[in-house]
């Protein structure tokens, strides 16, 4: 399967975006063969516009989209391949299963459009329905199916003609929580087995982390960060990314001792508590540090290593497999999770230096807030 390359596409709609940003601003990325790439972001971030631009339902104002050596869209050459000629498979948020056709007719339609011989149509429809475990429902009409089954039909319809790339537009958003969990695993497994190249749009961070080979985090029509789920989660490129993916403590502080040897010392919070961070910062200035709640170590006994703080429990809630603590750590508000229930109200908390990640660094006038593919290069001038 060919790579999809999106090169510097922009799009703005007649009226300006409420925030003043265009719908898409200079978006570029490449989807590699066999990869499942997720476009992740809040509503209105431009992820669906990107997907529909690739599918051909919208035309960007600028830029170029190619699939292998085939040009889908090229603004400079005033070229746009019609959606029906792009040979992509798409699963719609509403599934868009045609209500007047049976399951088999829905799945067979793309083959009929391609003038496949009748016996071959029947055979491929059967195979594909087996693949999505819907073989028994071939003669049913969509209104006789559950949401999860309709979604499988939509997927079968998008797969039956072996499209170059599979586009998935929030396919799980209409399923209930339990079903969504199962559908995710199933689709991921199917994608891996068939080695499908897929672009997946979602606003659900769990879905993105679960399914993706690579995640593109978008906001206000821009790509904020691209990386594997682990990279994006553990080393967020900006405060927005850190907060959008899961829960996060953001600690504001000052660099007290710039260093290039693995450990930097900061002064954080109103009490200017000393905090060691396992990262090189070669210039002074104010920083924001992201700390995941599950990375904070909690104990009812005093901890005596670096970054240990005494903490008072402000609130605790039971969430099934863990407890969530809202702490006041020597004036520093901190959220932490633990599988254990700790007798309060005074406990010890420790933030391991390796669990701290600097998401922004203001070095005097120059801002190091980055919006590129990588975690910030926190270096001096």
């Amino acid at each position: 399967m060919p790579d999809i390359t999106v090169d510097a596409i922009s799009k703005s709609f007649g009226g300006k975006h409420p925030t003043g940003a265009p719908a898409l601003a200079d978006v570029s990325f490449t989807v590699r063969d066999g990869e499942l790439l997720t476009l992740l972001g809040p509503s209105g971030c431009g992820k669906t516009t990107t997907l529909t631009s690739i599918a051909g339902f919208q035309q960007p104002d600028t830029g170029r989209i190619t699939c292998g050596d085939q040009v889908f869209f090229d603004h400079a050459a005033r070229l746009s391949l019609p959606a029906e000629s792009r040979n992509l498979g798409m699963v719609f948020q509403s599934y868009a299963v045609w209500p007047h056709m049976t399951v088999a007719q829905n799945v067979g339609f793309p083959l009929k459009v391609r003038k496949v011989r009748r016996p071959d149509v029947r055979e491929r429809v059967r195979q594909t329905l087996e693949l999505v475990e819907m073989g028994a429902y071939a003669a049913r009409y969509p209104h006789e199916l559950s949401g999860g089954q309709q979604q499988r039909v939509a997927l079968a319809r998008a797969l039956v003609y072996s499209p170059a790339v599979l586009l998935l537009d929030e396919p799980f958003s209409n399923l209930d929580a339990k079903l969504r969990e199962r559908a995710r695993s199933w689709l991921k497994q199917l994608q891996a087995e068939l080695a499908l190249t897929a672009i997946f749009v979602t606003h659900d961070q769990h879905e993105a982390l679960h399914m993706s080979d690579r995640i593109l985090v978008m906001d206000h029509g821009r790509i904020l960060q691209a990386g594997t789920p682990e990279e994006v989660y553990r080393r967020p490129g900006s405060r927005f990314v850190a907060e959008f993916l899961g829960q996060c403590n953001i600690l504001a502080g000052q660099v007290t001792a710039p260093t290039a040897h693995g450990i930097t010392w900061l002064a954080v919070g109103p009490a200017r508590l000393p905090l060691a961070v396992a990262q090189d910062v070669r210039a002074a200035g104010s920083v924001e540090v992201a700390v995941r709640p599950e990375a904070v170590e909690l104990s009812e006994h005093p901890l005596d290593r670096e970054n240990a703080l005494t903490a008072r429990v402000r609130a605790v809630s039971f969430l099934g497999d863990h407890y969530r603590y809202e702490l006041d750590a020597q004036g520093l508000p901190l959220v932490a999770t633990s599988p254990r229930h700790l007798p309060g109200p005074d406990i010890s908390a420790r933030i391991p230096p390796g669990a701290c990640w600097i998401v922004s660094h203001e070095d005097g006038a120059r801002s190091a807030k980055t919006a590129n593919d990588r975690a910030p290069e926190v270096t001096g001038a």
Binding site: N87, G89, P110, V113, E144, R157, S162
Partner: protein, 580 residues
Amino acid sequence: MISLTRRPLRSASPGRRSGRPENPVQALVWLLVLACVLAPVLPLLYASVQSKPIYDTGRVFSLSAYSQLFSDPAFRLAARNTAEFAVITTACSVVLGSCFAVVCARSNVLGRRAYGTLLAVPVLLPPLGVILGWNALYGPGGYAHSFVTSTLHIPFNLNSVPGMAVLGTATAVPVVFLVCQAALATMDASLENAGRSVGAGPLRVLRGVTLPMLRPALINSGLLVFTLSIESLGIPLVLGSPVGHDFIASYLYGAWSSAASPDPPLVSAGAVVLLAVACVLLLLRSALLGDGARFVSVGGRGGADGTVALGRLTRVLLGVLIGLYLAATTFAPLLALAVESVVSQLTPLVAPWHLLTPANWAAVAHGEYLQAIRNSALIALAGAVATTVLVALATAVAHRSRFTLRRSLPFLLLFPRAIPGLIIGIGFFWSFLLVNPPGHALLNSIGGLTLALSIRSLTLAYFVLSAAFATVSTALDDAGRSTGAGWWTTITRITLPILRPAVFVAFILMFISILNDYDPALFLTTPGTTVMGVAMLNAEAQGVNGPVAAMAMIQIAITVTAIAVGGRLFTARIARRGRA
């Protein structure tokens, strides 16, 4: 697990420069609609500024037709009559129609469900049948005339302008009722419930919440009724003209059919004046309501169901009153017509069972009448098929394509509604004369009639289909495109099949509308190509009442059958689909 082959099934097609039509059909449909809409209008404008009829030689550009028209006292009188008729009809029908709609939608009046349908259905009845029924019942010498004037002491004269306005009101009430009913159905009743929860009584809520929110619907239906009233032709032709009360439309028809030299420019000038007024009203309507409001879509349910519980007596009394209204305006006239069709003479002086005769029905079974029935059925069937296909495609181009000129289509499709029927008749007459071929072949043929009558009804199909298209998610189209289907395949295999019920309703509406229409045909029929409405008007003018009543009954029977069959199939399909 089965693995799918990785070989693509179709090699990629070359790219296309943006902006071109996706399919030649789109441009073709647009051109066809444009031609159909302009065909009756342009030649008319041209004919109105000529010194002599178009077929005469030695014509010059001249505005004399207009000065002649405006200086004719008969025209000025007709204009005054028309205005009086339109104002009374509009005022009365808006008040009555909206009251009925509010009472049926928001109170527990006796029989509210049945009235919800019964008050709306007369909109589909053949207008000429209703007029003739009224004439038989309430006209001078009519069956109920002496009851109304002597027993009830109401000085009612159906042949006067206010008398005709009463009939006009009765035919316009269903229009207002439908528009208000749709508005009330989409209006969330919890807004009204909120008013009552803060302590306002039902009447206070009606005044403070319901009526202000209904204002767009009232303006919309009021302007619609006013437009329909000023172009009204059947009412003055049957009731007014014989006693000298002409309207603009009947004045023009009289001038057309009785002038020394036929088809004088004067008639074209008058038609242009009427068209201008209708266009101004249409523009006014869209300015006041915005684009969206013109497409009233029935069916959206409000959040809560709010009904005011009336007192037991009020509930029954109101129900009986509405029932009496329906009986007096719709059922009694139709009954009178039915009786008239089986008696030699309908008169209050002799009991009808003494005058029973099969002669009227025998008369319509052959000769000119039978020919007219055949022609009407043929025209309605062919016209309905052609119009439904054209409008379905045009709506698809307008709402589901990237064709550059698609945005002009909704206006083009709405425009025929603003053109009075007689203008379509006169306009097509001129365009058949001017554009040859194919004009002369169409001039005295069924084909020409079909064209004129179809274009007049086109907008109705667009109303139905545009509302239907709006209910089908574009994701269903996009899904078709993404699997490789082009515009044509997507529209014909996915979108239109999903819309089958709506397409069918549009077809039935077209059929009824074309079958019962006669305004344009008055100017286009020749002895061999007459249609039911024209045959009935001609016979009625000669005082032949029995066969006319029989013809009207046939028209009503076909209409009711079509509605019943259509409604039944439609609800069956909806039910099957709705089981989701």
